[in-house]
């Protein structure tokens, strides 16, 4: 194997290694987003009953189906209750960046979103969400005594890693089936308006990126071009049986001028296109002889002319 081929092969092997140097992230689309254990006067279900609830968030930008997934709960080690999320309910398909709320009321007959367990108000609650293959998607432990009545344990914002107690105050309000943090502004825009009201910063950064992109292309194709020229010279030397580089340089191997290339291109075009300037003046008429076949005979394809008897 040539040395260059070995180099390319090794580069291909090393590329994934360099790409995966960063922290390995597990891609989980569905996460437990908020949990309320003791519901006395908070959100109520369709039956008008207040029960604890578990909110699941689809953090992907495509729909995710909860059908066949398992919600598991454990108050103490070795004591786990599983709720199989039924299949066949279109409502289990959660739209991108949307939520699903499960009522932990121990009454699964009330519908898909009512689990067969309740949450413990005295012990710690371990809650796990498993996919239909039994793989853990997300889990959370709500420590005992951390939540008072009508308070929830929630991620600071949807799908974030930090959790906090939502005490239903003005700043930290309980948010069933909706975003944990209401976005009433566009932080990116505000940042630009605050720090770059003139647009100079944007211009400098964006133009730098544009230039970097095209400079990278320039460097790549400069190298590719040089390699192509060298290869052409090498091939030309081989074709002329010349080994001396000086001689090859003097005879300008591989450096065909533009007009020569244009002439060759035109000749090839004419050859392939069957175009020629001088038309032949001999006209040949040859008789085309077709052998008779009843299948192609007009007589057999015509209907008989109607005649009066």
């Amino acid at each position: 194997m040539k040395r260059s081929h070995i180099g390319i092969f090794l580069s291909c092997l090393l590329l994934p290694f360099f790409c995966s140097c960063g922290e390995k992230k597990v891609q989980k689309k569905l996460v437990i987003n908020e949990v309320l254990i003791d519901n006395q006067s908070n959100f109520e279900d369709d039956y008008g009953v207040h029960s604890g609830w578990i909110e699941i968030f689809n953090k992907a930008y495509k729909s995710s189906d909860l059908a066949g997934c398992l919600l598991k709960i454990s108050y103490q080690p070795g004591d786990t209750i599983s709720y199989f999320i039924p299949k066949g309910d279109v409502l289990t398909n959660i739209k991108p960046r949307q939520h699903a709320l499960f009522w932990a009321d121990g009454l699964p007959r009330r519908g898909t979103f009512h689990t067969n367990f309740i949450l413990s108000t005295t012990n710690s609650n371990w809650i796990g969400l498993y996919d239909s293959g039994g793989k853990l998607l997300d889990d959370i432990v709500v420590p005992a005594g951390i939540l008072k009545t009508n308070q929830s344990y929630a991620r600071v914002s949807d799908a974030s890693d930090e959790w906090e107690v939502k005490d239903d105050s003005e700043e930290k309000y309980v948010t069933p089936s909706t975003n944990n943090k209401t976005l009433d502004s566009n932080p990116k825009m505000e940042k630009f308006e605050l720090h770059d009201s003139m647009g100079i910063g944007m211009t400098i950064t964006a133009m730098s990126v544009v230039f970097i992109g095209l400079i990278l292309l320039y460097i790549s194709f400069k190298c590719v071009g040089n390699a192509a020229i060298k290869l052409r010279k090498k091939n030309a030397m081989k074709a002329h049986n010349v080994t001396d580089k000086k001689e090859a340089k003097e005879r300008k191997f591989g450096e065909a001028p533009g007009d020569v290339i244009a002439a060759i291109s035109m000749a090839l075009h004419e050859a392939y296109g069957d175009d020629h300037d001088v038309e032949e003046t001999i006209l040949t008429i040859s008789r085309v002889k077709r052998s008779y076949s009843p299948w192609s005979s007009k007589i057999y394809t015509l209907r008989e002319t109607p005649h009066k008897k």
Binding site: S197, T203, G213, G225, A228
Partner: protein, 386 residues
């Protein structure tokens, strides 16, 4: 009998309220005149007829006055009307990448590959985008709107539509019409700027003939181009991905039928739909606003800045280039990615000063680099602002 006549009269009176004559406003008439003017420019002056005829006729279609409260479902902004369904290709942004697929399949990047330094001119011309962005901010537009307006300076209709559909959908009609109008007016806008910024000596510079480019290099270009640009700006993927894919179809040499479909029937179909619906989106009630006038003004400015920055960049670049390797600054304007019009302007102006100096091949380099540059710029703006 009298009752029947009165019934007929009421019916006719009712019908009258549905007609265009009853619902017409001066704004409608202005827009209809604009549409007719576009068609006139396209047919008589041959200013980008492929674009201006669909857009001009689309303006007529979109500005036929009708009773908007009757729920006829004929207007482009009425949900599920035929025009609205066709317009979804613009609002959801899938027409522009398909146009880019066609552009890729019809573009020969040889000039750029043979002389890669011309890519930098394509980058420099993107100053037009950011010049207009700064002025738009000064005029009171918010950053998202300013970015959408600025992209007109990229002189790339599909890119302008793609970006404005994401950042400022309410301004998209005005931005698209402005971008396409100025692309059609490149022969009017660019030459005075080019003459103003160059000396006679500079206009006579003869450039080295481009070298022959091998098939391998041509095949490598879309692959390397995609990887480098999209690793840097993944938000430009829909446009750049399709552009390079189209080019690979062309250059691979084994997908001739696909390349021909992409650069022929497919791009023609999308151009018709895009032009017609963009034109129709200029419904007078939505379009004739002060913002639209400002956008048209900024669009012209962005084209001028883009042309000037391309030309000036070449002049500066020439200071560091060897004597026999200088670039004719008349190809600087071609960094504005109105393919191939701006390259044609370089050629025409070059021939005006030296009838044997053919600049078209050289100008195609920055021209196609401009397409890549404006798509990268759009990706950067999208990444920063969305």
């Amino acid at each position: 009998m009298g009752e029947f006549v009165s019934f007929l009269q009421n019916n006719l009176a009712d019908f009258w309220t549905y007609t265009g004559f009853y619902n017409a406003t001066p704004q409608h008439l202005i827009m209809l005149c604009v549409g007719i003017f576009f068609i006139y420019l396209a047919i008589s002056k041959e200013f980008e007829p492929m674009l201006l005829i669909p857009i001009g006729f689309g303006i007529l279609v979109g500005n036929i006055p009708f009773n908007m409260e009757a729920g006829l479902q004929v207007g482009i902004y009425e949900e599920n009307s035929v025009l609205n369904i066709l317009y979804q290709g613009v609002t959801s942004g899938w027409y522009p990448p398909l146009i880019f697929l066609g552009i890729g399949a019809m573009t020969d990047f040889s000039a750029l590959i043979s002389n890669p330094k011309l890519m930098l001119i394509g980058a420099a011309a993107q100053f037009g985008i950011f010049g207009a962005y700064i002025i738009a901010l000064e005029m009171g537009f918010d950053p998202m709107q300013a970015a959408s307006i600025g992209i007109i300076g990229g002189a790339d209709g599909p890119t302008a539509i793609f970006l404005s559909s994401k950042l400022a959908p309410n301004l998209m009609g005005a931005i698209a019409v402005s971008a396409y109008s100025y692309m059609a007016l490149v022969p009017v806008i660019q030459p005075p700027v080019m003459r103003l910024l160059t000396t006679k000596k500079e206009r006579l510079i003869r450039m080295k003939a481009p070298r022959a480019v091998s098939h391998t290099e041509k095949v490598m270009f879309p692959i390397v181009g995609l990887l480098l640009t999209c690793f840097l700006v993944p938000s430009g993927l829909p446009l750049l991905g399709m552009l390079f894919f189209g080019n690979l179809l062309k250059e691979s040499g084994v997908t001739r039928r696909l390349a021909e479909t992409a650069r022929g029937p497919l791009v023609d179909t999308i151009t018709i739909l895009l032009g017609l619906t963009v034109g129709a989106s200029t419904q007078a009630s939505e379009f004739l606003t002060m913002d639209s006038i400002k956008i048209f003004l900024l669009g012209a400015l962005s084209f001028i800045i883009a042309t000037a920055s391309g030309v000036l960049f070449v002049k500066i670049f020439n200071l560091v280039l060897k004597k026999d390797n200088k670039i004719n600054p008349l190809i600087g304007n071609a960094g504005v990615s109105a393919v191939p019009d701006s390259a044609r302007i370089s050629q025409i102006l070059g021939l005006e000063y030296d009838p044997s100096n053919y600049l078209l091949m050289h100008a195609m380099g920055p021209n196609v680099a401009g397409v890549i540059g404006s798509a990268v710029a759009a990706g950067v703006l999208l990444g920063f602002l969305i």
